[in-house]
Amino acid sequence: MTPVISPFSLFFASIFTSNILLANFLGMCSFISISKDMKSSNGLGLAVVVVLTVTTGVNWAVLHLILIPLGLVYLRFIVFIIVIAAVVQMLEMIIDRVSQTLYMSLGIFLPLITVNCAILGVSLFMEIRNYSFIQSIIFGLGSGLGWWLAIMLLSAMRKKIEKAPVPAGLQGSGITMITIGFMAMAFMGFSGMLQVQ
């Protein structure tokens, strides 16, 4: 059954209350490693938005047109991954052709996020929660924006932390993890407003 939820609520929830990064802790590795640099964070965030929206849509079609009719839903993990890899590959070629500026700021990060668990995670949530096509696109876009928001916030904070007297043992990843913990708590404050599962 397709859940009854207004498109706006779903969009809002996937950005804030069920932020893919801070509520589900998906896509952590690139989140931590790239957030050192604000410019790269921005490019990567943008790439995640594009890839999430596109792959969730494509995976919805693959799931509903191929896997469900053939009774092969148990193959979703492997199929989703193949689809994501192929879509990212094509996106990279197209962006490279269409705009050099866009390629410089976003395209070079595309291969990085093929293996990002947030991308696969969103496709799997889409399947578990039985979203319709429109809902899937909204959920993908919202999750991407949420991821982008989170990495921009974190990289801004890390800029500040660079100048802060962090104890030697906590420098680098240590203090970053603690910061992410606080961010997650702050975002949980939103969860009373709206829930999606």
């Binding site: 693959v62 191929i66 896997l67 053939l70 009774g71 092969l72 193959l75 492997i78 199929v79 193949i82 689809v83 192929a86 590959q89 094509m90 070629m93 197209i94 490279d96 052709r97 050099q100 410089m104 070079i108």
Partner: protein
């Protein structure tokens, strides 16, 4: 057998096949940049090539080999080319390998630059002569405990034209844990007049991929690829005295240079001082050849210096670091009123130290030519 068993593999195979087909269709449509023109050195050469691939590979296909040690993976930073037309900003993958000056002159790593439009580039003229040669290892000889002399005979009657002092890139096959073909650069030790052979001196570097292969696996009769000739380390034709300094396998270019000058009858034209530094007697080689050369040619002076001669070995030559010996000769023996040019080949540490000595003796930087081991 239940037909359902076959649905899953068939579905996966079909999906993969469709995606692969989509990718290759996108590749042929989107990645098809048509034909582009590469304008080299302000119109001195124009190439019509197919766009879409990187510049390094495209140039190599047309027979212009830009030096590259990693084979286009963007990890060596060797394949630099100056681009004079606008092809967009530097990629993040290029920037770590370029100096500020190179960035402002729009020097690019040719393996990272994709050919999408017509470009104008500048490459040194000598690169036009560079070719890939197939050859066979004709001889491998130990010249010291850790240096081997390798001679490659070119196959199919090919002939190579190089200037004494230049280098070539030799390629060795995968072996042991090394899974890829690997190229490294070595100076030619053979004489240019011998156009059917290329000779190299290869010193064993612990952990070195190519040197280990040459020392432990290479055998006579083995096929081998050499890309040559590269480099601008050759003798400038002036009257100045040549102050040559080498260590270890840095002997190679000088051996080629001296025999080349003898063959061309130029050995008596100018003074040549050849300093060769080594630790002990067992690191010395070609000693008899060079001593004979010194006897036969009045202008040629050969000075071997040992930093740690073994006691009781009866070493009668110079002792001390090559820098000390060089300093002593420049101060006391080499006529100081003569113009001089420096030629150096060896490890970076040795080269820098010797260049400092040369500067102290008022030799100008632009008159010091060197070939530094990377």
């Amino acid at each position: 057998m239940n037909a359902a068993y076959f649905i899953a593999p068939a579905a996966i195979a079909t999906i993969s096949a469709v995606l692969a087909a989509l990718i290759s269709i996108t590749d042929s449509i989107v990645n098809n940049y048509g034909d582009v023109v590469i304008n080299i050195n302000d119109g001195s050469k124009e190439l019509d090539v197919k766009g879409g691939a990187n510049m390094l590979v495209t140039l190599a296909e047309t027979g212009i080999f830009i030096p590259s040690a990693c084979g286009g993976r963007g990890s060596c930073g060797e394949c630099k080319v100056k681009v004079t037309s606008d092809i967009g900003p530097h990629l993040p993958t290029e920037i770590p390998y370029l100096s500020k000056e190179q960035l402002s002159e729009n020097v690019r790593l040719s393996c990272q630059v994709k050919l999408k439009t017509d470009v104008a580039i500048e490459v040194p003229e000598y690169l036009f002569k560079v070719q890939q040669y197939d050859g066979v290892v004709e001889s491998i000889k130990d010249v010291t405990h850790d240096i081997k002399e390798v001679y490659v005979k070119l196959s199919d009657g090919a002939e190579v034209d190089f200037r004494a002092g230049q280098y070539g890139q030799i390629e060795v096959p995968p072996y042991g844990k090394i899974r890829e073909r690997t190229q490294r650069a070595y100076s030619m030790a053979s004489v240019p007049a011998d156009t059917t052979h290329l000779g190299f001196l290869i010193r064993l570097v612990p952990g070195g991929i190519v040197t280990t292969y040459v020392h432990e696996h290479m055998h006579e009769g083995e096929k081998m690829k050499v890309i040559a000739p590269f480099g601008e380390f050759f003798v400038r034709e002036t009257d100045a005295a040549m102050i040559c300094v080498a260590g270890g396998s840095g002997m190679a270019p000088f051996r080629s240079i001296f025999y080349d000058r003898i063959a061309k009858g130029k050995m008596e034209e100018r003074d040549i001082w050849y300093f060769f530094g080594a630790r002990t007697e067992k690191d010395l080689f070609y000693l008899d050849e060079l001593k004979k050369m010194e006897e036969e040619h009045e202008c040629f002076h050969f000075i071997a210096a040992l930093s740690e001669p073994e006691e009781g070995s009866g070493w009668s030559g110079e002792t001390g670091l090559i820098t000390e010996v060089l300093d002593k000769y420049l101060k006391e023996i080499v006529p100081s009123d003569q113009p001089k040019e420096g030629y150096l080949c060896g490890s970076p540490g040795m080269l820098d130290a010797c260049m400092a000595v040369m500067r102290n003796h008022e030799m100008q930087d632009e008159k010091i030519y060197f070939d530094k081991f990377a």
